[in-house]
Amino acid sequence: MKFDILKHKLVPHHEILKEKEVEKLLRTYNIRKENLPRILTTDPVVQAIGAKEGDVIKIVRESPTAGTSVAYRLVVSKGIE
């Protein structure tokens, strides 16, 4: 049986944003998709949740000072393998 990395306590919650949510996100920050921080398709969590290139991932981390902190990342593939 494969180990489920999503259940590890050091892995924060990741989820793929729906198209509408992405639009709303880009509107609130007044940015284009390319301005988001990135994450590689080869990232273990990206593969585990099945995100594709071009998807936007929402990451909810727990923080001792902020309670929870939310970040977004754009999934990109490496230039050449």
């Binding site: 301005n35 000072t65 902020a66 902190s69 970040a71």
Partner: protein, 877 residues
């Protein structure tokens, strides 16, 4: 009037100069290596040709007809007899060689592979990422190919013999052959040159091999005339002379049909000169030297490094309206102020625009001239150094012309007034490691020649007065002054963003003073109490004798409530709180100090609970006023009580000395026992350690314990009537460890965390037997600093001391470089108005500043709120 147009730089493209372009932009071809004729006139078609610009007054440029001040200089060119490789592009050329076929110039890949590469390239460009690595990847794929898929030529391995020689299968290639190859490549690849990270619109590979060399304008390499009338040329000119000489010889020999060997030698020599002309620190070749033996400073050296154009002239500049001198302390000025010598104040100025409302005042100022006589009882009044008339003319004000200039003063002029009390200035001490290294102060003009600062601002600047110098800058615009006053004033930095606690607070004697004032609640006569309180600015009445804690309470703000453990706290298992036998539990109720001594924990820089609480509750202005009052009170208290320290503070009675010696003997015996046990194999091994390591650890434990015990014996005889102990206990200066080393025993010296073992074969010094594992032989210092060390002890102590020095030296240089890289990487990141952190291109780095939105400076030791305190306060109300 200079007109400016609103143009925004969209992008910058870098390309190569083509030979045609070099010829086109050239004002003249340079052929003679000589510079001036006998009359000192520039030779035509020489390196100083007046068509390349002029550097002497009186001459006119033959290209643009302008004189020295106006002519920007013009490029010339040298026609190279043979092609020469440009060192700066050797790596690119090598990469192209790896990727392409020498026979047909095409990429050593099949059409299908190339098609795939084009797609990948497009993707990288779309993502806005660097294409620099891509070219390397292409070459990596191509080197593996054995035969060119297009023309069938065998792909021979190319080597680079640094710095500028290429070999194909071991055979040397001449630059001409390299150029031929590159020509083929640009012919065959066309737009696909992009795959090799070359933009064919602005650069062609064969241009990386020079056939024409541009000669920079004389204005970039001016010669200097010495007092003796001798002329000294710039390093670049020297190098160009070398190039022209060899180029000439090469051409003559080649045209005369000289043997191949001679031509090749000259060709290589020309290559050397051109290479060093670009970069005189190229690896693999000796740097070209001046006759005196000094290495020449050529093109790359002008730009590179700390003294190069970028770091020295573009990132950093020298500025006007600044000053630097030695600093010294002044306990009588506020922490917000800085004392400025009169001489400095007369030199530094603030511009004031003259208008209808201030014209009379300004006239009066100008009338004073540059060095006015102050009226009786005043040490300084500001004068005026310059007046800038509305037409932009700058007039120097002198004693003689002061009254006429004053009369002619009209609205719109600018008066440069000398510094006066209350002007906002910036004060800075290097190294500027954090924001508190540069703060805004209010000027206070004082006699003598040093900058004066309040002792409480020493910690943020990390300043002391053993010869430190500091810089001062005078702000020149109203906006700058406003910004500095709101953001940079000293009082705005009482709380540090580094750890969210105070960084400006009491030090040394301030701590001792407050400690003495409040320790055991000493009683003061009415006169003494008045003296102490009045110096702190207390205006109330003193009716009779006063207790120390009562006096201290007078400077506390009304309504302050605090409860915490002082530094003196021993950390007892069960805290008795108010009934603490050591008086280490501080209780402040409604502005009154009830119990506890005031020490470092209450008021000290880096700790100061009271200062921190006041700053948070009442703001920076109240905190500033408190620190000013506190420091003055403390100084008055310590002067009233009296305080001194000296070597006799470490005197301990005979019996104590005896006890210490006994303890040391015991420890030494214990070590002998351990060694015996080790030799006889009876030592019990610690798991995971060898027998030797076990012995060392045990011995280290014994020596450590011995030092602590002697310290304890010593401190038993050093009570609270001892000045050195008072300083250590209150946290003003020094520690109990320092004291026990002075009075008791210095202890084990260590290098790399181990007992000293280096030196001679099997022993540290020849004073000991080989293989001696005893305490003295391995660096145990049983003497105290006060009694003095034996020669061998002194030597071991030096070894340990040296290690410490080396460590600090290494640490500072390494952390300095790390910080430089960090700052360069982060300098463009900015907190935007919507709370996000972004780069200049708009890419988001953090969605909320720090991922929690907490500003460290306003945080409570890293946390957003201090719940305990809030609950306590609410419960009290």
């Amino acid at each position: 009037m200079i007109t400016t147009s609103k143009k925004v730089i969209d992008e910058i493209s870098f390309g190569l100069l083509s030979p045609e372009k070099i010829r086109k932009m050239s004002a003249t071809r340079v052929i003679t290596p000589d510079t001036y004729d006998e009359d000192g006139f520039p030779i035509e078609m020489g390196l100083m040709d007046t068509r390349l610009g002029v550097i002497e007054p009186g001459l006119r440029c033959k290209t643009c007809g302008q004189n020295v001040r106006e002519c920007p200089g013009h490029f010339g060119h040298i026609e190279l007899a043979m092609p020469i490789i440009h060192v700066g592009f050797v790596k690119t050329i090598f990469n192209i060689m790896k990727a392409t076929c020498r026979g047909c110039g095409k990429l050593l890949l099949t059409d299908k592979e190339v098609e795939k590469l084009r797609e990948d390239y497009k993707k990288i460009v779309e993502m806005g990422e660097s294409t620099a690595y891509f070219a390397k990847e292409v070459a990596k794929m191509a080197v593996k190919v054995e035969r060119c898929p297009h023309c069938g030529r065998e792909n021979l391995p190319v080597e680079l013999d640094k710095p500028t020689t290429f070999r194909e299968a071991g055979h040397k290639m001449t630059p001409a052959e390299v150029r031929e190859w590159m020509e083929k490549v640009s012919e065959a690849l066309g737009k696909d040159l992009l795959l090799l990270d070359i933009n064919p619109e602005v650069a062609r590979p064969e241009w990386m091999i020079l056939t024409v060399l541009p000669v920079p304008p004389v204005t970039t390499r001016p010669s200097i005339t010495l007092e003796t009338g001798e002329r000294s040329e710039d390093d670049l000119t020297h190098k160009l002379v070398d190039i022209i000489r060899i180029n000439q010889r090469l051409q003559e020999n080649r045209d005369a049909g000289a043997p191949q060997l001679i031509v090749e030698d000259l060709w290589e020599l020309l290559q050397y000169h051109v290479t060093t002309y670009f970069d005189n620190q190229t690896a693999g070749i000796p740097p070209a030297r001046h006759r005196s033996g000094r290495a020449l400073k050529t093109l790359a050296q002008r730009l590179k490094g700390k003294e190069g154009r970028f770091r020295s002239n573009l990132s950093g500049k020298r500025v006007n309206f600044s000053s630097r001198t030695v600093i010294s302390p002044d306990p009588n000025i506020s922490i917000n102020e800085v004392g400025i010598p009169i001489r400095v104040a007369r030199e530094l100025t603030v511009p004031i625009k003259v208008n209808a409302h201030n014209i009379e005042k300004m006239k009066e100022l100008v009338r004073r001239g540059p060095s006015p006589e102050p009226p009786a009882g005043v040490v300084y009044i500001p004068g005026v150094n310059y007046v800038i008339r509305p037409d932009g003319r700058r007039i120097k004000v002198t004693k003689e012309n002061a009254s006429t200039v004053a009369e002619r003063l009209e609205p719109g002029a600018i008066v440069e007034r000398q510094l006066q009390d209350g002007d906002i200035v910036l004060f800075n001490r290097q190294p500027s490691l954090h924001r508190m290294s540069m703060m805004a102060h209010k000027a206070k003009i004082l006699p003598y020649s040093t900058f004066r600062l309040n002792l409480a601002v020493c910690p943020p600047y990390n300043a002391d007065f053993d010869g430190d110098e500091m810089n001062l800058h005078v702000l020149q615009s109203e906006e700058a002054r406003a910004e500095a006053e709101i953001l940079m004033k000293v009082q705005e930095h009482i709380l540090s963003p580094r750890f969210g606690g105070v960084i400006i607070g009491a030090i040394h004697d301030h701590v001792t003073g407050c400690f003495l004032l409040t320790y055991k609640n000493r009683e003061f006569s009415r006169e003494d109490a008045i003296r102490i309180l009045s110096s702190a600015g207390y205006k109330g009445k003193v009716t009779g004798k006063m207790k120390g804690k009562e006096i201290f309470s007078k400077i506390l703000p009304k309504g302050i409530n605090l409860e915490y453990k002082a530094k003196a706290c021993n950390g007892c298992e069960k805290c008795l709180k108010e009934k603490c036998p050591y008086d280490a539990y501080v209780v402040i109720k409604n502005g009154k100090l009830i119990t506890g001594v005031i020490d470092e924990k209450s008021i000290g820089a880096f700790k100061g609970e009271i200062i921190e609480y006041i700053t948070r509750k009442w703001g920076t202005e109240e905190a500033r006023s408190f620190i000013d009052r506190l420091t003055k009170l403390a100084i008055a208290a310590i002067m009233t009580i009296g305080f001194t320290t000296g070597i006799d503070d470490e005197d301990i009675p005979e019996e104590a000395q005896l006890q210490i010696r006994e303890q040391l003997e015991k420890a030494k015996k214990k070590i002998q026992q351990l060694i015996r046990a080790y030799n006889e194999g009876e030592l019990e091994q610690i798991p995971g350690r060898s027998l030797e390591e076990t012995l060392e650890m045990e011995i280290m434990r014994v020596t450590g314990k011995a030092r602590d015990q002697t310290g304890e014996i010593a401190s038993k005889h050093l009570g609270m009537d001892n000045s050195a102990v008072i300083m250590a206990r209150s946290g003003a200066r020094g520690s109990m460890l320092n004291l026990s080393q002075m009075a008791g025993c210095v202890g084990q010296q260590a290098v790399r965390g181990e007992r000293i073992r280096r030196g001679y074969k099997n022993r540290t010094l020849t004073h000991f037997k080989k293989g001696d594992l005893g305490a003295e032989a391995k660096g145990f210092v049983s003497s105290s600093y006060k009694n003095g060390l034996t020669p061998t002890e002194y030597f071991f102590h030096s070894m340990g001391g040296r290690e410490g020095l080396v460590d600090t030296a290494v640490r500072t240089s390494r952390s300095g470089y790390m910080q430089r890289r960090l700052i360069n990487a982060l300098e463009n990141i900015k907190l935007e108005e919507d709370g996000t952190v972004r780069t200049t291109t708009g890419e988001i780095v953090q969605f909320v500043y720090g991922e929690d939105g907490v500003e460290p400076m306003r945080s409570i030791r890293g946390k957003a709120v201090n719940l305990d305190l809030i609950i306590k306060e609410v419960a009290n109300e």
